[in-house]
């Protein structure tokens, strides 16, 4: 298997007399570095934000997987975790924030509210039934709120998807 965690198996490790030589494809190297250092845009809307903080705290500690820096500005963020209820007054803001994030960017819809409006689908005149109507979503993490482990599991799935990317067809950000 790959030498480093997450390195693409296509990479070869040659044992040479002078020491090991590592040959890897460009994609594998880029994807390994990109997937293991995803910075998240702190975007807590409601209850899921607290579980996101718990995932960042000492007990669950998502820094083990490379999500070390929750960045407050979209300029340094790789992914946007929409954690909480999306409401129509928030729509232009979410769109602007998403477009202000540099490519390649990813969106994680955390919790029932972000996926489909959650418990507020009926009888709410301001609810947006799912953040996918505003920004393209990559990973959906169900739960109300999802446990920190569920969030970590979702983010690890996102990492695996990123490892499958290629520079030729890197995800095209939104116009």
């Amino acid at each position: 298997m790959g030498l480093m965690n997450g390195l693409d198996p296509r990479s070869l490790v040659l044992r040479m007399p002078g020491g090991n030589v590592l040959i890897s494809s460009l994609d594998a190297a880029i994807n390994a570095s990109r997937s293991n250092s995803l910075w998240t845009l702190t975007f807590g809307l409601a209850c899921c934000a607290i579980e996101m903080m718990a995932a960042g705290a000492s007990t669950y500690d998502w820094a083990r997987f490379g999500f070390e820096v929750p960045s407050a500005s979209p300029r340094r963020a790789d992914m946007m975790i929409v954690a909480g209820t999306v409401v129509r007054k928030m729509v232009p803001i979410i769109r602007t924030l998403y477009q202000q994030m540099p490519d390649p960017k990813y969106v994680v819809a955390m919790g029932g509210c972000a996926i489909s409006g959650g418990p507020y689908v009926y009888d709410s005149y301001t609810i947006v039934r799912g953040v996918e109507e505003i920004v393209p979503v990559d990973i959906y993490i169900p739960g109300c709120p999802p446990r920190p482990e569920a969030l970590l599991d979702g983010l690890i799935k996102l990492q695996e998807r990123i490892r499958g990317q290629s520079v030729r067809t890197a995800p095209a950000g939104q116009a």
Partner: protein, 397 residues
């Protein structure tokens, strides 16, 4: 590894369902006049200091704050409209999603209101269980406030220590109710199920350890010299102005006002428990923080007393299957971690309430921000907002 492209990433997602209108662009505010050197600073919905999504437009003169205009409603889900189309039992999970840090206090206030409408007496064991859970929830909420406030003031360590202790409480609450944060544990007349077998063993272990850990947290943040320098005498509000703004909870008690719903409108078994109400003297940001630390110590004392006097008995009273209270109205208030949480429930005899008005502490506490902050510096804005311990969905409902 197959080559993955993320679906139709190029074009914007179709708003086929048409529920989302074209981007309702927020009209830009008029910028301050060109002659004066005032300018408008927008601390917008997505900002670390706002603990959620509320927007504050600050008119600045240099670095001094001249005026503040808060904008809220970015998580307004229209709950009070939603409640009019839900039965009394279906409303319980929504109450703890308005203020997820004190879900149990919200459940408590709402369920007590419905029980008053029904004239239902709950067994003594249920009262003790409710006080136990409410005080545990208060400590967990204050710990999260401490963590977030540490982050706001630039101290990362309290965040880790506070969350370590909070995880213990959250694990206990989860074992009892099934939910870490949004518990939905209360029912009209009692609880969903009884406390787990080893609950008191874990609680005793927690009480033994947490006293020392709390002193550690206290010296780590609230007694920290830099913290005191940044908060002593900053953001002062007097007792009369605080009461006039409807402030309640630690923010009010910091301004030398010994008002606590557990004393003023006694409910459950609080009259039979001895605990003091910590009161700050001069209503500044440091006092608001100190009051919360002292409250946690008082909660530990309450937990010990409730544990000793814990009676035997049913964990749920004989409540009717379908709850249809007689026509009438009731206001039931509980002392949540942020202040008075009240439910004004008007029933018309059917299975769904005619109107439910939620009186939430953060709504009034936040409305006092412009008066507290006028004339302070921009760095103090972050300190004062953190000390108000705001939970945004509670403001917007």
């Amino acid at each position: 590894m197959r080559n993955v492209t993320f679906g139709n990433r190029d074009k914007m997602p179709p708003t086929a369902r048409g529920t989302v209108p074209a981007a309702t662009v927020v009209q830009p505010l008029p910028s301050a006049s060109a002659t004066s050197d005032e300018f408008l600073l927008n601390i917008g919905p997505q900002h670390p200091a706002t603990h959620g999504v509320l927007r504050v437009v600050v008119t600045m003169d240099g670095e001094v704050v001249k005026d503040i205009v808060p904008h809220i409603g970015y998580v307004h889900r229209g709950l009070e409209k939603l409640f009019e189309n839900r039965t009394y039992e279906q409303i319980i999970p929504f109450t703890d999603r308005t203020d997820y840090l004190s879900a149990i206090a919200n459940n408590f206030a709402y369920v007590r209101g419905v029980e008053m409408l029904l004239g239902l007496e709950v067994p003594r064991k249920v009262e003790y269980m409710r006080v136990l859970m409410a005080e545990l929830n208060r400590i967990a909420s204050h710990l999260l406030w401490l963590a977030a406030y540490g982050l706001d003031m630039g101290a990362f360590t309290p965040f880790l220590y506070a969350f370590r202790d909070r995880e213990e409480i959250v694990a206990m609450i989860e074992e009892a109710s099934g939910g870490r944060l949004t518990t939905n544990y209360f029912r009209v007349g009692g609880f969903v199920h009884d406390l787990p077998k080893d609950f008191f063993a874990r609680l005793r272990k927690f009480l033994a350890r947490f006293g020392k850990a709390l002193n550690e947290l206290d010296t780590l943040l609230v007694e920290n010299a830099i913290f005191v320098a940044r908060t002593r005498g900053v953001g002062v509000i007097g007792k009369e102005r605080a009461v006039s703004y409807g402030m309640t909870g630690p923010c009010l008690r910091a301004s030398n006002a010994a008002f606590d719903v557990r004393r003023d409108m006694p409910y459950s078994i609080y009259p039979s428990l001895e605990f003091e109400i910590p009161v700050g003297r001069n209503g500044d940001t440091w006092d608001r923080s100190w009051v919360r630390i002292e409250e946690m110590r008082q909660s530990l004392a309450i937990l010990r007393q409730a544990m000793e006097g814990f009676p035997e008995g049913e964990h749920r009273a004989r409540a009717p299957r379908n709850i249809e209270p007689p026509a009438g109205e009731v206001y039931s208030a509980v002392e949540g971690p942020r202040g008075e949480i009240g439910f004004y429930i008007v029933s018309d005899g059917t299975r769904k309430p005619y109107r439910v008005k939620m009186r939430k502490p953060s709504f009034s506490n936040f409305s006092a921000l412009p008066e507290i902050l006028r004339g302070l510096k921009i760095a103090d804005l972050v300190a004062v907002m953190g000390s108000l311990d705001l939970v945004v969905p509670e403001i917007d409902r």
